[in-house]
Symmetry: D2
């Protein structure tokens, strides 16, 4: 597929990264897990609506791009379940009276999302046995026991879906890379309220931290895995 | 100063972030520390040269933009020293035979930088009493005792300088924000090999994690601090 | 008060630690917070009963020593509230179907505690504004955002209460010490199902990580703090 | 072998732990790594001497018990090398001028150990390819990238050796348990300056965090591992 940063990142910049040796593929290991990050009504809205309509329901909504991603996460999730591979849901925990600090100052609108917004989007919601990880900060690893679950599950690779590309997905990928998990981002399965941030964060991740490719390619990799 | 993402991030995107409530200022606390991240010869070269010359010496070099940032870090560093405020140097540790893993796969050129490349750039080098933090991963917090030093020093705010904007600076800012430090990025003091990544990462950080402003404004804030 | 490890740790051992230079006091800083760790019915039982009765209700119960500690935590908690100092409650999160791993293997009885056991003991229960930290692992810092709250609250010192002395209290003290918080353990406010482990863990903490003293002495320190 | 806490922890306490369901075995996984913690001259002295002689050379020395442990670590290390299993060396980093904080206050003698003290004991020293992890705090995981190496190496189990039983070994075991690694402590391979702390910390670890057994039993487990 066409790389999403085409026409946004200049060809001279892409040449510079190539010359410096960035962006080599990592490949997938033997046992990937799927992370579905923050796919809650608060990030897509309860209805399929354009961005400017969606933010009337939840200020945190990304609108149509979110629902399009949900359409692509659904078959990928189905494949993980079929293969018996682990699925984990890091998600934004409802705010409590003692949750103040930098987040509340930087984006106060995040503190007053209605309870409905914290529900999982039913199309890709967790089932019994999936790991649920409420979180207070961008990265799915920060202040959560995610890495303990991954070690117990014998996971060596992670596939990242959800939102936002430039926020919690990016933060989680950087941490996962530092922990030495093999990271893959299926392009159609992550979303953001800014198309430029979305594209440039995918460029950054492809250059430094993750394999960034079409969901079709990722599904082919999963299908080709040998049973453990 | 003109915001560096002007002309790169669309006005409709900026409007969307405003409508969603992003980008409120955090302000600076009472006791900031200065982080000088990866300002080693490997990221600027031993001479002031354009990017395409500089990468002949070190593949990891950013070229002229790095030296321009060094020019701006220098007076800021002088002000921190004058005020007796803490200065910390997270830096890339020389690679060892046992350093393999995702980084070596994604950017193999990072593994073979000559020893000279790991030296600090003399114009902004550490002095006795500064905290040195060798690191193996992008964020200055990951796998280092940085947060322990900051707690011992009673620091509540961090000013980020060095490189790259889209790599170790971005990763460190996201972690610092999650730890609840007040984060400030003086625009002229951070650098990157990609002007687009540089600009969009500053946009992302301004929207979600940090106050992003001119170094002149940051120096005025530091000058105005009351002695503890 | 008589040190609890008297008669358990030999005088020659105490002399050896003195000769090696262990156990110097840290003192308390300017802004302590109180941690009340795992003071839930599961660790004391719903009634004041001896150990061998209490474990019939919850296998995790410590019995009378727990209730005695609650009696001492109560006035200490009152003093923190009176002074407007932060109070935080790290507590054992109810187990979920996906919680397996080492804990479930090592102490399977921990996995089947009745829901009532997860309730806070009312005598020292949280009120609006206290920080609640569900946890899955021994240390209050592991896999939780505790350190982010402490940084936001400007805390420099921690007073540890709750249980067990040799488990979650010990683990939390070791981490807090590593983060450079000043650690104090009021002897009467921590409890354990083993009197020997209780005493020797207090000895270890006093030698290496914390100031271990009577609750009366700790309350005198808190009373003497100047308002910020 | 006789359990080291016999005669120190009372039979009623051991019965209480049994009744509460503690101390079940974890077993070893498929791929263990060996941790050799702080086996530097500073913890044993450059000569085999009794404790009261040894601390004249280094205040941090444990004396004869350290050298006896080295005798037992040596064949275990040989077996790991023979099997091609990973060996990692978390070790105390030499102190620097900026290293202050709680450790310097609690045990000031730790700050002035002569340079020779930081050398590895030659009998069990690292070779090319082993992972070296300088550390500033008790746990081998705190402020180090240890977990990233373990994930990259595909390790699921850890065998702990070195010192002190009640300090860095205990702290590292608690963290490893929380990360969900299977933990084994070969009794003869860990050492401490206090025989009571040594014994009771082994009791605590056996009850809650690790399999604690003779080095002969551990070597039999390693020998029985199937090649990957």
């Amino acid at each position: 597929m066409a790389l999403p940063w085409g026409g946004i990142v200049g060809q001279d910049e892409i040449d510079a990264y190539d010359a410096a040796g960035f962006g080599r593929p990592q490949g997938m290991g033997k046992r990937p897990a799927l992370l579905i990050i923050d796919v809650q009504y608060r990030t897509v809205g309860t209805r399929r609506e354009p961005f400017w309509e969606a933010i009337k329901e939840f200020k945190t909504a990304c609108g149509e791009v979110g629902w399009q991603a949900v359409d692509h996460i659904r078959p990928l999730l189905g494949l993980f379940r079929e293969k018996g591979l682990p699925v984990l849901y890091p998600y934004v925990a409802p705010k409590e009276s003692f949750d103040v600090g930098r987040l509340a100052e930087k984006v106060p609108a995040l503190m007053t999302v209605a309870a409905k917004g914290y529900e999982f989007v039913p199309e890709v919601a967790p089932v019994e046995g999936d790991v649920l990880l409420p979180k207070k900060h961008p990265s799915a690893f920060f202040g959560t026991p995610l890495v303990s679950y991954l070690i117990d599950l014998g996971v060596d690779s992670l596939v990242f879906t959800g939102c936002t590309t430039s926020g919690c997905v990016r933060g989680s990928v950087v941490d996962a890379f530092a922990y030495n998990f093999r990271c893959t981002v299926p392009i159609e399965c992550v979303y953001d309220r800014s198309r430029t941030s979305h594209a440039v964060n995918l460029f950054d991740m492809a250059a430094k931290y993750a394999d960034v490719k079409s969901v079709a390619e990722v599904m082919a990799q999963i299908r080709a895995l040998q049973p453990a």
